[in-house]
């Protein structure tokens, strides 16, 4: 017994050293193992950004010349406006270089580079041409069938080419004097190359003597060509830490796509150029080996942002950190769902922190008991921050969400539940009228609503109704269930109800809320339904409705508008009054509201900032087509969609301006009501007892 216990304890001891919390120490072993001419001492690498040469947009090549200078060539994607520059001080300042012109190629040029001696070479996918130099003539190297050149470098008499063959990397070394070619077969190297292929690596660089070949992948590998040995210059974990800084702060800070790199002789400097996937801009970074920089010890002011679940604000936080590097921005997610922490536990921990005065500065209030926080005075008054600029925002949304008074909760995005259909349908003002229209149209052979739409419709109809006030109204709830039953009767075809897939039932939608909704537009367009209840979440959704209006004579309108014009607020932000850095928090809010964090792309919801829609890529003067869209099960039937003209955008903006009532979405209430709705519709429970059960459970909650 005792021995067994000791055995178990020992087993659990050993792997502890293996988990990679100490990245740098592990790299010690790997680093110092192979290299005999690398400088000994601190194996710490520091990353700094270098200024690019002026007027340079994209870096197209990077090389340490044999005289120690750094050569950089810049240009755009097609190597137009090319410029070549040298730097003598390790990349800090650049001057125009006196470089020979690159050779011409028949096929499209992929890379234009310089050898260590400054001799230009260029390659396409199958062919590489090295220019003539003093004493040597122009050399051409062709690849085998099936091989494409991925990257190449030349130094002294060695040419290294990384080729891609059937999704695998291979390294070929050419001796430029004899033009013999050999493949590198080292198994460790092959493994490294395979990983590099998976991780968007694959740039290579030779030292100026042509003895060492460096490959950038998961880490910077070093292949000794004279001894045919593989090792690491910078190990995997260390490299990952360097190029993905700020990961522990929860921000997204990938450096970008690594385009080119070069290693200096002596291996104490590495230059990297990266480009962002979206823009064409490149950035230059210098990795220097040396003692850790002292200035890292500076105490920065911290800004803590907290969100219960994953949120789009994380992007904004990353951009904010870039803009204000003197702050330290952290983004925490309360419940990632990965380990045993449930939503309730996360909220409890957050509350403890808030009440102990250790809380975060900014709270993303989605899913949190925000009303309780506001009532207890935990949120700062934001009115003065927002009201002066109210013309810039959909102030109706902001004001309505806070009950028309001081602003404590700031909704940053919103969407609108609507009803789609013909003139009669959109004229209804409440559910009763909807039921009348439904009964009138029931017998025409086309279902009033597509059966799958009914689940989401149930949810939307509930949250835009007045069933829940201070308490829940049992009579109204029973009516609601009865109406749902009627809808189901009239809209489901025979037997469909029993086969209804679980994943589309109401409780599922309640859980997903406010996630993606069902889109009945296409069903309406192709005449398979007469009406639909959905949400307009973004301009893209509106673009799907427009063809209905233009071509089919249908229309859209606020849902249940007798009680008000409802909207659903998403990404609600609050500034905690117990936070340590309220000024930085307000700065963040101002930054967000300036619209800088939005590009011209697609937003998942409507931003509360007004002018963003106009600059969106979905709006243009001519309203040109963006192609067609179709449903998964009928890919041949497509509906053409067009961009919005400014006039249409203005109409829609007026529609958004009319919103004045927030949906008060209480997760517990929604869940319970929808569970009973399911029981009512699919398990044959009668509406009264369903309503009674739901009320009992909800009243317990409301009475606390």
């Amino acid at each position: 017994m005792v021995l067994l216990g000791i055995a178990v304890a020992m087993c659990s001891c050993t792997p502890r050293g293996g988990d990679g919390a100490q990245g740098k120490e592990i790299q010690e072993g790997k680093n110092s193992g192979d290299s005999d001419h690398a400088p000994s001492g601190e194996h710490v690498w520091n990353l700094t950004e270098l200024p690019k040469p002026e007027s340079a947009v994209r870096v197209t090549s990077l090389k340490y010349l044999s005289d120690g200078a750094v050569r950089i060539s810049t240009g755009d994607a097609h190597f137009e406006h090319a410029a070549v520059m040298d730097s003598r001080d390790g990349g800090r300042s650049w001057e125009a270089a006196d470089a020979a012109t690159s050779p011409e190629l028949e096929d499209e040029v992929i890379g234009k580079y310089y050898s260590a001696k400054g001799v230009p070479f260029a390659y396409s996918s199958m062919e590489l041409i090295l220019s003539a130099d003093s004493g040597t003539e122009e050399k051409t190297v062709r690849m085998e069938e099936g091989e494409t050149i991925f990257s190449a470098d030349v130094s002294a008499d060695t040419l290294a080419v990384l080729v891609l063959e059937e999704m695998q990397f291979h390294l070929k070394i050419y001796d430029l004097q004899t033009m013999e070619c050999r493949y590198l077969e080292d198994p460790e190297l092959s493994e490294f190359l395979a990983r590099a292929a998976d991780h968007a690596g694959g740039q290579i660089s030779l030292d100026s003597q042509g003895n060492f070949l460096y490959i950038e992948g998961t880490g910077i590998g070093r292949y000794d060509l004279t001894q045919d040995r593989f090792g690491y210059l910078i190990g995997e974990e260390l490299y990952d830490e360097l190029i993905n800084p700020n990961q522990e702060n929860g921000l997204i800070h990938d450096l970008g796509i690594r385009d080119h790199f070069a290693v200096k002789d002596g291996e104490d400097q590495v230059l990297l150029s990266v480009s962002s996937p979206v823009s064409e801009q490149s950035k230059l970074y210098l990795l220097e080996r040396g003692a850790p920089k002292e200035e890292k010890q500076v105490q920065k002011e911290k800004l803590r942002i907290y969100s219960l679940k994953e949120s789009a604000i994380r992007q904004a936080a990353t951009l904010f950190q870039e803009k204000y590097p003197e702050l330290e921005v952290t983004f925490e997610i309360g419940c990632t769902g990965g380990n045993g922490v449930t939503l309730q536990d996360a909220i409890r921990t957050l509350n403890t922190e808030l009440m102990a005065g250790e809380g975060p500065d900014i709270l993303i209030l989605d899913g949190l008991p925000a009303d309780s926080y506001a009532k207890k005075g935990m949120l700062e008054d934001l009115t003065d921050l927002v009201e002066p600029d109210k013309e810039n925002y959909f102030y109706n949304i902001i004001s309505a969400y806070n009950g028309g008074e001081r602003i404590y909760q700031m909704p940053l995005e919103f969407c609108v539940p609507v009803i789609l259909g013909d003139a009669d349908t959109v004229a209804v003002k409440n559910r009763r009228e909807l039921m009348e229209v439904l009964r009138k149209k029931a017998g025409t052979g086309i279902p009033f609503m597509v059966s799958k739409n009914i689940s989401e419709a149930a949810l939307e109809l509930f949250i835009t109704s007045d069933i829940v006030g201070e308490t829940i109204n049992e009579v109204k709830l029973a009516d609601y269930y009865r109406d749902l039953d009627t809808i189901a009767d009239l809209c489901f075809s025979d037997g469909e109800r029993d086969l209804f897939p679980v994943g589309d039932k109401m409780a599922y939608w309640a859980e997903q809320y406010p996630g993606v909704g069902f889109c009945p537009e296409l069903d309406l367009y192709f005449g398979e339904a007469q009406a639909g209840i959905t949400r307009i979440e973004a301009l893209w959704d509106y673009m799907k409705i427009l063809p209905l209006c233009r071509e089919k004579g249908l229309s859209y309108q606020y849902l249940n508008r007798e009680n008000g014009n409802y909207f659903i607020a998403v990404s609600v932000l609050g500034i905690s009054s117990g936070g340590k850095n309220p000024d930085a928090a307000k700065q963040f809010l101002r930054f967000y509201l300036s619209g800088e964090t939005y590009g011209d792309g697609a937003y998942p919801y409507f931003p509360v900032i007004r002018e963003l829609a106009a600059g969106s890529r979905y709006v243009s003067e001519e309203g040109e087509s963006v192609g067609g869209t179709s449903r998964k099960h009928t890919p041949d039937q497509t509906m053409d969609m067009y961009k919005l003209t400014p006039a249409e955008l203005k109409d829609f903006t007026a529609f958004l301006d009319g919103l004045d009532t927030p949906v008060k979405d209480d997760a517990v209430v929604m869940q319970k009501v929808m569970e009973q709705a399911e029981a009512c519709l699919f398990k044959g429970k009668d509406p009264e007892s369903a309503a009674a059960d739901a009320c009992r459970e909800v009243n317990l909650y409301l009475s606390e």
Binding site: L354, S372, M378, V668, R696, L700, Y701, S703, E704
Partner: protein, 315 residues
């Protein structure tokens, strides 16, 4: 912050107490020569207790006092609220339901556990073939972590779980047991199942302490087994009664964790207990109500325990 004030206050109390100790010690030293053993020995007791006491004061009494303080003030502002929190709590229907349920849970499960374990302990103590195996078997449920227990209950009692499958074989329709009034029975069953082994062990230890001669004497006098049990065995077990009852009461709190993992924040009404309510109040930052409720229920529980102490611990 008033928390510091409380702490200072408690520090003063401790210092006052230390004065007392010093007085006592010097007095005892003075009386040591006169007294022969007796009182002077009792200061040794204090020496044994003090280190633990220091820790308990710091980590338990202090937070306890803070909770009591919070019952009398408002959550965020800290202003004195007198008895209004208590009034609010007592008038809250959810609190009444939760308190009733908790009382019901304790009132049902603790006696069942205590009596059943005693019934089982008697024959096991007398000695049965394979008694060790039975005892080990009974102990095992306590080792299972709550998450696994929850997994089990889900597999057994869900709408499509094993129990319903079994009933289906007999043609009896089943239901989602955890979401009906049966949930209460399930929780009681789970509680007894878990704690049976330990209580049995404790009873056995207590039963061992009763000298066999008394039983022999009674049997010779012609008393039946049951008479012996009630008139002789039980009166000797009062102290163990107290221990096991208090222990069972404490363990009945732990039932909450399983109920919570299976049924969430708002379970069926029959198992909605005080801890659920406190949890939810805390989520809404209603710490003042939570503290008031805790003080009320804690006071009731303490009163109950002191009642048991008077009756069963004697002295």
């Amino acid at each position: 912050m008033s928390f510091c004030a409380v702490r200072k206050c408690v520090r003063k109390m401790i210092m006052k107490y230390e004065m007392e100790i010093k007085k006592m010690v010097s007095l005892y030293y003075f009386r040591l020569s006169a007294a022969r053993g007796g009182r002077s020995r009792d200061r040794w007791g204090l020496a044994f207790v003090l280190p633990s006491l220091a820790g308990v004061l710091a980590f338990y009494v202090l937070p306890y006092l803070d909770v009591i303080r919070r019952a009398f003030v408002r959550t965020m502002t800290g202003e004195f609220a007198g008895l209004s929190n208590f009034r609010q709590v007592l008038g809250n229907p959810a609190f009444c339901l939760a308190a009733a349920n908790t009382a019901r849970m304790m009132g049902v499960s603790v006696p069942i556990l205590v009596v059943c374990s005693l019934m089982l302990a008697v024959p096991l103590q007398k000695g049965i073939q394979g008694g060790t195996w039975y005892k080990s078997g009974l102990l095992i449920p306590m080792a299972i972590p709550a998450a696994s227990v929850v997994l089990l209950w889900q597999c057994i009692f869900a709408r499509q779980g094993f129990l319903n499958g079994l009933l289906h074989l007999f043609g009896i329709p089943g239901t989602d047991w955890m979401n009906t009034g049966y949930a209460f029975a399930i929780l009681v069953f789970s509680y007894v199942w878990k704690n049976l082994g330990y209580s049995v062990i404790l009873w056995i230890a207590a039963l061992e302490g009763i000298p066999a001669e008394i039983h022999e004497a009674a049997r010779i006098d012609g008393a039946g087994e049951w008479v012996i049990f009630f008139r002789i065995t039980v009166p000797n077990l009062f102290s163990a009664f107290f221990t096991i009852t208090v222990l069972s009461l404490i363990n009945s709190f732990k039932v909450f964790r399983e109920a919570y993992l299976v049924a969430g924040d708002y379970p069926d009404e029959s198992i909605y207990m005080l801890q659920h309510l406190f949890n939810n109040w805390y989520r809404n930052l209603d710490v003042d109500k939570m503290a008031a409720g805790a003080v009320l229920s804690g006071a009731v529980l303490l009163a109950l325990v002191s009642l048991f102490w008077k009756r069963w611990e004697g002295k």
